[in-house]
């Protein structure tokens, strides 16, 4: 074992280091979806891929005796899986493969993201989703509740889209709540790196407290939506191709369905206000969106996108206590 090879993480952390994307890989369809999406993002943004398999750590064992022989077998098997996955990738993509041990998949991925200074974690979201739509699997769910690094969820079927397809558009889903600033920053960064057009999507009309009078909701909603979009557009730097849309519909699901989606599109949403500062937490609006979205979704923590632990700065939102739902 222990070949005294140089560590791959030695180069990270310097300014010259490429952006890095951590892929939570499993040797099944969900893992293939994650890998395909990550490859597409890495190709478009010239990032390095860190393909990570997380194996259960011995320490979590409480009933089953640990067995060195079996652990070795698992490790060898995982390496073979990684090798197979890597063989299917375009050789031009900078990549490194890792096996990590952790008590849970999510924990291992977050630790790996910190270790490599990665700006994004990609996992397969789907677990029995219908018609290509995503239902959050337990892994993605845990990750969304504990990651301080943006998380991309690859819906099932992502593996059918070629890496060369790139990212055709970035849609930033804006709610009415604070957090939009962070989201906009992230969206701008992403569109720059991916060289993709930006679509601002206002969810305001449907992102209102439930039980509100319908007519009133529509009125304030539409007005507010335009306002938010206008403000967002003003905040954008020049040179970004931007369109804006307001989502309409009785429910979030209906609204998402009524929108048009490009094949290579990705959606950006902000983490919920319920999340701890600089940690992710998927609000119910975003959860409902995810169920309907035919395209990948990236969830951004409330503080600056891609912030590393310790580098976290301000928290975007004050302790507001409204009980309504937000995109976040």
């Amino acid at each position: 074992m222990n070949a005294g090879a140089p560590t791959t993480s030695a180069a990270s952390g310097t300014d010259a280091a490429p952006r890095r994307i951590v892929v939570g890989y499993t040797a099944n369809e969900s893992g293939a979806d994650a890998l395909a999406l990550a490859t597409r993002l890495a190709t478009a943004s010239e990032s390095q891929l860190d393909v990570v398999m997380v194996l259960p750590s011995e320490a979590r064992s409480s009933t089953v005796p640990t067995d060195v022989g079996y652990e070795r077998h698992l490790k060898a098997r995982s390496r073979a899986w990684l090798a197979e996955a890597s063989a299917g990738l375009d050789a031009d993509i900078a990549q490194s493969l890792h096996v990590r041990y952790a008590e849970s998949f999510a924990e291992g991925l977050i630790a790996a993201a910190h270790e490599f200074g990665a700006s994004l974690i990609v996992v397969g979201a789907a677990r029995g989703g219908l018609l290509g739509r995503s239902r959050i699997g337990s892994v993605a769910n845990e990750l969304l509740h504990s990651s301080d690094v943006p998380v991309a969820l690859a819906p099932s079927g992502s593996r059918e889209l070629a890496a060369s397809a790139g990212v055709s558009r970035v849609t930033a889903a804006l709610g009415s709540r604070p957090g939009a600033g962070v989201l906009l920053d992230a969206a701008v960064n992403l569109t720059k790196t991916l060289r993709a057009p930006l679509r601002l999507l206002s969810l305001v009309p449907i992102d209102l407290p439930s039980g509100m009078d319908e007519g009133l909701a529509e009125l304030t909603g539409t007005a507010h939506a335009d306002e938010v979009l206008a403000a967002a557009k003003r905040a954008l730097p020049a040179g970004i191709e931007t369109t804006a849309e307001v989502a309409t519909g009785d429910t979030i699901e209906a609204a998402v369905r009524s929108l048009s989606w490009h094949e290579g599109e990705i959606v950006l949403v902000a983490s919920s206000r319920l999340a701890m500062p600089s940690h992710l937490f998927l609000g119910s609006t975003a959860s409902k969106m995810l169920r309907e979205l035919p395209v990948p979704m990236i969830v951004v923590p409330r503080t600056t996108a891609g912030s590393r632990p310790g580098a976290g700065s301000h928290t975007g939102a004050g302790p507001r206590t409204t009980t309504g739902e937000s995109t976040s």
Binding site: M1, N2, A3, G4, A5, P6, T7, T8, S9, T26, A27, N28, S30, G31, L55, P56, S57, E58, A59, R60, S61, S62, T63, V64, P65, T66, D67, V68, G69, Y70, E71, R72, H73, L74, K75, A76, R77, R79, A80, W81, L82, A83, S86, A87, A91, Q95, S96, L97, H98, V99, R100, Y101, A102, E103, A111
Partner: protein, 520 residues
């Protein structure tokens, strides 16, 4: 596994192995295999939970009493010796050739594919036998628990209806398979509580039996004598051998504590200590319970006598009520939780051996598949569960004393594969026996003596069990059921082996797992 080509050696993957290995050197926690491994208390808890003393004793005490009468404590003490001797050899092999196939891989290495294959078969058969027995005991206690809680004694009798019994047992098996397949683990804290509870209940049960006896409330008060601890007081060698092969079963599972944590950094003493503390706890518990129950109930054939065939296959089930009264519900709970957690750890063992057999081409490749999501030997786990379920269902319909007969047959199977493992150790290390005094003891004397004892037990049990009166007295065509069972399992193994030999000759030519000998 030990000798497969490193899949990461091809060009684009150097970074993978570099990353993997580098992180293990770095001393950063949670990355390496050994980091954050199970500690001393954790290892003891896993050890006790694997042995499952509450389950083991309720299943084995009756059959042992039927063989050796009041000398059960002596048999328990003596039975530990071959187990210890073989476990020492097991540890040496595990250190030199850690492999999930354990006995299968080691015996193949030492003696070649044919004997190796049969050792693997013996291990799988033994664990599948115990799986069905565990589930059977759990069913009995589930109904007992319900009847105790609801205050309706008739419910406990539902367990004797073979169809309901089999149906519930299959449900148990399904649950255990689900848990094992997904590798769901209880939290360590809960596991500590469960094991602590199990031990506390067993102690309470024994003390209550002694107190009742002292108060003159015993069913058949039998004064405790020193001769109970004297193995030479057993009537015949046959009885002694049969008792011994049963008592090997009661320590089975203990070897895991000896081999756990072998590679843990800075804890060279942990496995030894964990194993010692575990076995001392277990032996004390076993002695306490056997002495107190014999003192309370005697070994006669009366209603609650331990010699009564009707209660022998599950003695706690029948004695908890008379001894503990309303608190008997605690015993039911202890046995239930004990069998439940043992089911999971027991499942692992045939699954991992089947996986290794598939991996080396001794069985279809499907057996080697690992669930990509849960990292468990998924296919092998499911096959084990199906075989154990079918086995239980058939046995339940064939034999009125299914639990008893499976336990006896199980002792025989353990002697078979454990004996081969012991001899494999001796043979594998033949060139290094004389290199050090340590080697003389651990690679020659201990496993050799242990192996010989197990071999004698195996053959004695095999011959004696031809008698239709053997064990519970169930028979098929005038031959003891235990013998038939043992033969069906072993000859069935030979049949499957020959079939695999035709289908997969590479393994049997030694191409996938070659013979080897330790040379340093």
């Amino acid at each position: 596994m030990t000798n497969q080509p490193d899949p990461t050696s091809s060009a684009p993957l150097t970074s993978a192995s570099a990353a993997v290995d580098a992180s293990e050197q770095g001393g950063i926690s949670k990355k390496g295999l050994s980091a954050g491994s199970v500690g001393l208390i954790g290892a003891i808890v896993i050890g006790i939970s694997c042995i499952a003393p509450a389950y083991t004793l309720t299943a084995a005490l009756g059959p042992t009493v039927s063989e050796v009468g009041v000398q059960v404590p002596a048999i328990i003490l003596v039975g530990f010796i071959p187990m210890l001797l073989v476990a020492l050899g097991y540890r040496e092999l595990n250190k030199r050739m850690p492999d999930s196939g354990t006995s299968f891989t080691w015996a193949t290495r030492a003696f070649g594919p044919w004997i190796g294959w049969m050792a693997g078969w013996g291990l799988v058969a033994a664990t599948i036998l115990v799986l069905s027995n565990l589930a059977g005991i759990a069913v009995d206690f589930l109904f007992l628990l319900i009847s105790q809680v609801s205050g309706n004694p008739e419910i406990a009798d539902i367990a004797t209806n073979p169809f309901i019994n089999v149906a519930v047992c299959l449900l148990f098996m399904l649950g255990a398979t689900w848990i094992s397949y997904r590798d769901m683990q209880t939290t360590q804290k809960l596991q500590y509580w469960l094991v602590g509870f199990q031990v506390a209940v067993l102690v309470t049960f024994s003390v209550a039996a002694l107190v009742e006896t002292a108060n003159g409330n015993a069913f058949d008060a039998t004064p405790i004598e020193l001769s109970w601890f004297n193995p030479f007081a057993v009537d015949s060698f046959s009885a002694f051998a049969a008792g011994l092969s049963l008592s090997i079963f009661i320590f089975w599972g203990w070897d895991v504590t000896l081999t756990m944590n072998e590679e843990t950094r800075g804890s060279d003493k942990t496995p030894g200590r964990a194993a010692t503390i575990t076995v001392v706890t277990i032996v004390v518990l076993y002695l306490l319970i056997s002495v107190s129950l014999i003192a309370f109930a005697g070994v006669g054939t009366g209603e609650y006598g331990l010699g009564n065939e009707d209660i022998q296959d599950n003695v706690f089930f029948h004695l908890a009520g008379p001894i503990l009264g309303p608190l008997a519900v605690l015993v039911s709970l202890a046995v239930l939780t004990s069998s439940a957690s043992s089911l999971q750890s027991t499942f692992v063992s045939p699954a991992r051996t089947l996986l290794a057999m598939g991996h080396y081409g001794a069985l279809p490749e499907k057996f080697a598949s690992v669930s990509p999501r849960f990292f468990t030997p998924g296919y092998a786990t499911i096959v084990s569960a199906i075989v154990a379920s079918v086995f239980y269902a058939v046995m339940r319909l064939l034999s009125e004393n299914v639990l008893w007969d499976t336990i006896t047959a199980l002792g025989m199977m353990i002697c078979f594969y454990y004996g081969i493992t012991a001899f494999a150790c001796v043979w594998f290390f033949r060139k290094v026996w004389w290199k050090s005094a340590r080697n003389v003891i651990y690679t020659l004397l201990a496993p050799l003596i242990g192996g010989v004892i197990l071999a004698v037990l195996f053959f004695t049990t095999l011959i004696d069990s031809m008698d239709p009166e053997y064990g519970s007295g169930s028979s098929v065509g005038g031959v003891g059921l235990v013998f038939v069972l043992g033969m069906v399992v072993l000859l069935g193994g030979v049949g499957v082996m020959l079939w695999q030999w035709r289908r997969r000759p590479a393994f049997f030519r030694g191409e996938t797992l070659s013979r080897a000998v330790a040379s340093e």
